[in-house]
């Protein structure tokens, strides 16, 4: 496949530019033929059917305006007690939800999401990613990015299936994925992200040991958190992304791109997302507003091939029945007021704030942790991933002794596929901590580590 990345578009916003690569599609005929998605579905997904109301709706392609709808179970919204509201933004602007908007906010909405919001998300996605197969791509609003992923895991994973994950990996996905009993293929990373050479050898080994002989043990997907990854803060380079996408094509697996920290990348030139490289329709992308607009409103969205997104939508119909309408209306009104440009300006400010916090964390680390810890400079996100070479396992150190000194970091073992093994890593979050507090925290952490080394020496 030939894709040229050329002539980066510079979005000049307040003197500093946010660069977006323009993907040049060479020619349409080079796009491969249709993927057979049914091969990737779990038994659960295969047996899941659309609800009766979807079937009913399909008969109503052209309903007359006179149709008397006695079918739906919508409650009467005139009885809902909330009438209207005005929300003041931090910049002084006001968002007003009049009675109509409030009524919409309080009623069941379309399962796939509030229609005006989906339009903004479509525009934003096209602008930022220009997905090569946009006409076969669909989006849904989800209750946070994570629920989209949870539903994707259930859709794709049968017990015994093989799944590639980064090492270290966001702990939140293990909780859902592990309960589905997959085999993990963890692949380590370096400063550029997941090592494509290690991925290739893991895949080759899988193929020769399992893939050739046990066709029922499917290699289903790779989970990746490529921007400002949780917990290591690594941004995957463009080179790695292309190499890994090529491997996904070669070994025929899907890519679940968890990009909750997309806007929190600290460089100005963002590498292309997997979605933007997706000529074959292998990518399910999970976006989130949690780090940029609000975590509590629970608004995220999934973008991907129509067939797979439809399955997720069926699962949503049976469970949460859509995200909170009020939350979605609020985010939509924000887009109305700011436009995409205003939104991108806002996320730039958010990014700048996190970069300042990162810098403060690094200063504090250099000052107090040099000689005790090793770390890489986070390229994005909100975490610093610290290794303590002289300590075998950080769990007891942090949970028992660290807490006594009023400091808490997350022990690294939860971010691995083998949490029962000792782990020398720990994750520090700099998202909500002020620079002075960061300094104090690492000072205390240094003491805790020194004490631990002392303790280990005494035990020896």
């Amino acid at each position: 496949m030939v894709l040229g990345v050329e002539n980066k578009i510079k979005l000049d916003v307040n003197d500093t530019a946010l660069s977006l690569p323009r993907i040049r599609l060479v020619s349409a005929p080079l796009l491969r033929g249709r993927m057979d998605y049914s091969r990737f579905l779990s038994t659960n997904a295969k047996t899941r059917k659309p609800s009766w109301i979807t079937q009913l709706r399909s008969y109503l392609a052209n309903p007359s305006s006179d149709i008397l709808w006695l079918a739906g179970g919508h409650p009467d919204a005139s009885l809902f007690p909330f009438k209207e509201t005005t929300i003041t933004l931090k910049n002084g602007q006001e968002i007003h939800l009049n009675q109509d908007l409030m009524a919409t906010s309080l009623q069941y909405g379309p399962i796939e999401g509030h229609t005006p919001l989906l339009k903004y998300l479509a525009d934003l996605t096209q602008k930022l990613h220009s997905p090569p197969r946009w006409s076969e791509t669909r989006q849904l609003v989800t209750v946070g990015g994570q629920d989209g992923m949870a539903k994707a895991f259930v859709m794709l994973t049968d017990p015994g299936d093989y799944v590639v994950v980064p090492e270290p990996c966001y702990a939140g996905i293990f909780s859902e994925l592990t309960s589905l009993n997959p085999h993990y293929l963890p692949v380590e990373e370096d400063e550029e992200g997941m090592r494509s050479d290690l991925l290739r050898s893991a895949l080759a080994r899988w193929k020769s040991e399992i893939g050739e002989t046990h066709s029922e043990k499917r290699l289903k997907f790779m989970y990746t958190n490529p921007s400002g990854s949780n917990p290591s803060g690594t941004n995957m380079s463009e080179k790695r992304r292309r190499e890994i996408y090529a491997l996904a094509c070669e070994y025929d697996f899907l890519i679940l791109e968890d990009d909750a920290y997309y806007f929190l990348q600290f460089q100005d030139d963002f590498p292309p997302s997997f979605l933007s490289l997706d000529t074959e329709g292998r990518v399910l992308r999970f976006d989130s507003f949690s780090k940029t607009v609000s975590a509590g409103l629970r608004v995220g969205y999934v973008t991907g091939p129509e067939f797979l997104v439809e399955k997720i939508s069926q699962h949503i119909m049976a469970t949460v029945m859509g995200g909170s309408s009020l939350s979605q209306v609020l985010v939509t009104e924000l887009f109305h007021m700011w436009g995409l440009e205003g939104f991108l300006r806002h996320v730039k400010e958010v990014r700048d704030m996190y970069r300042r916090r990162r810098d403060a964390a690094l200063s504090a680390a250099e000052k107090h942790l040099t000689g005790l810890c090793e770390w890489r400079k986070p390229g994005g996100g909100m975490f610093l991933w610290l290794k303590v070479p002289k300590v075998k396992d950080t769990q007891a150190m942090l949970l028992e002794r660290g807490t006594k000194k009023s400091i808490l970091l997350v022990p690294g073992n939860g971010f691995t596929t083998r949490p029962e093994l000792p782990c020398q890593y720990m994750r520090a979050s700099y998202s909500t901590v002020l620079p002075e507090e960061m300094d104090k925290a690492f000072q205390i952490l240094a003491e805790v580590i020194r004490d631990e080394i002392q303790l280990n020496n005494e035990v020896k």
Binding site: S64, A77, F82, R298
Partner: protein
């Protein structure tokens, strides 16, 4: 506002959870309150879904009322369960039918067995969707006893609790209120009385079971929208429990008026063509068309031409191939004039269908 916008506890916004616990204690006085927990979910259906996913393996037996709410069937069907369908009549689930449905097992043989036997009983006891009728107290106690005998967990799905017609003090006691053994998981919803779009419901039940649901929430939705929770909490703060209950009375009144209009239109146009029981709450009228053995075709293929749409009863059958003479009409958002017109069109449709069958 900060609370509205930030991540919150998985179990729910603490001030709201506190208020909901107080309300639940007041309304149901659960016998094992000290061992009971309550959490907020993104709509009661999500709570129900997590409860079922917690307890069902592919191919498991599930005891459920029939007809059954389609949402529940959507949750269960991917597990390819073996439904133990219990026929309901004009008073809801019939304990005799329940006993008969379970008769293939001896209680003492299956009580302690972990797999391959029924473990769960799903019931929508008030103003059931789709039948609109409620299960009386006597039947509830019998059903509870049978569940106890067979060691089943009762999933009490009660979104229409607050829209039962009549006085709160006359409502039949909930399964939660008679749960001396800790076998009831109860699902409440604000969708019919405060807002469906805010996506807010709550689960009440034995601590070990509720804890599992919390774990699943932690890895999926994380928690219900903070803003939604804060709004409802502030409303309770402003109104108090009494104010909230007073509001639900206003909601009931509205649906009662709608029911009356619907019944009037039904009597006028459908007498002789359909049979129905008077809904005891909620928003649905469950119409039987004795002369038509299967309403699916009639509705999906021919109703459109008559400008009327209802839900064919087959959608509520555990076995989707079972023919069904019933159909469900909703009276929540239709004006009396539209009901009149709709049921008139429906009567024309049925008459034509009967003619068609003769031909």
């Amino acid at each position: 506002m900060t609370d509205c916008l930030q991540y919150g506890p998985t179990a729910g916004y603490p001030p709201l959870v506190k208020k909901l616990k107080s309300l639940t204690e007041r309304l149901h006085a659960p016998p094992r309150w000290a061992d009971t927990d309550l959490i907020v979910t993104a709509g009661s259906q999500d709570g129900l879904c997590k409860a079922l996913e917690m307890m069902i393996e592919p191919g498991d037996f599930v005891v459920t009322q029939e007809p059954c709410y389609t949402g529940t069937l959507s949750i269960l069907n991917p597990f390819e369960p073996r439904y133990v369908a219990v026929k309901c009549d004009h008073e809801g689930m019939n304990p005799k039918a329940l006993k008969e449905a379970l008769s293939q097992w001896k209680p003492e043989e299956i009580r302690d067995v972990k797999t391959g036997v029924p473990k769960v009983l799903y019931i929508n006891p008030n103003a059931c969707n789709p039948t609109g009728v409620s299960v009386g107290e006597k039947r509830r106690r019998e059903i509870y006893d049978i569940a106890s005998e067979y060691n089943l967990i009762i999933l009490e799905d009660d979104p229409y609790y607050f829209v039962q017609f009549g006085n709160l003090k006359d409502f039949p006691p909930s399964f939660l209120s008679m749960d001396t053994e800790g076998r009831v998981l109860r699902f409440d919803s604000f969708s019919k009385v405060l807002s469906s779009g805010l996506r807010l419901g709550y689960v009440t039940g034995p601590k070990p079971l509720v804890e599992r649901i919390v774990l699943h929430k932690q890895v999926s939705i994380l928690h219900a929208s903070s803003m939604s929770q804060v709004l409802i909490s502030e409303l309770f703060e402003m109104w108090g429990e009494d104010g909230f209950l007073k509001h639900t009375e206003a909601v009931q009144e509205f649906y009662l008026k709608q029911r009356e209009a619907m019944l009037e239109a039904a009597e006028k146009h459908l007498t002789g063509l359909c049979e129905w029981a008077v809904p005891t709450g909620g928003m649905f009228l469950w119409l039987k068309v004795p002369g038509v053995s299967e309403t699916w075709e009639m509705i999906l293929n021919r109703a459109l031409k008559k400008d009327v749409i209802l839900v064919p009863g087959r959608a509520f059958m555990c076995d989707p191939t079972t023919p069904c003479s019933y159909m469900r009409a909703a009276f929540s958002i239709v004006t009396p004039e539209k009901m009149e017109k709709g049921l008139k069109n429906l009567s024309d449709l049925i008459r034509e269908e009967l003619e068609l069958q003769k031909a």
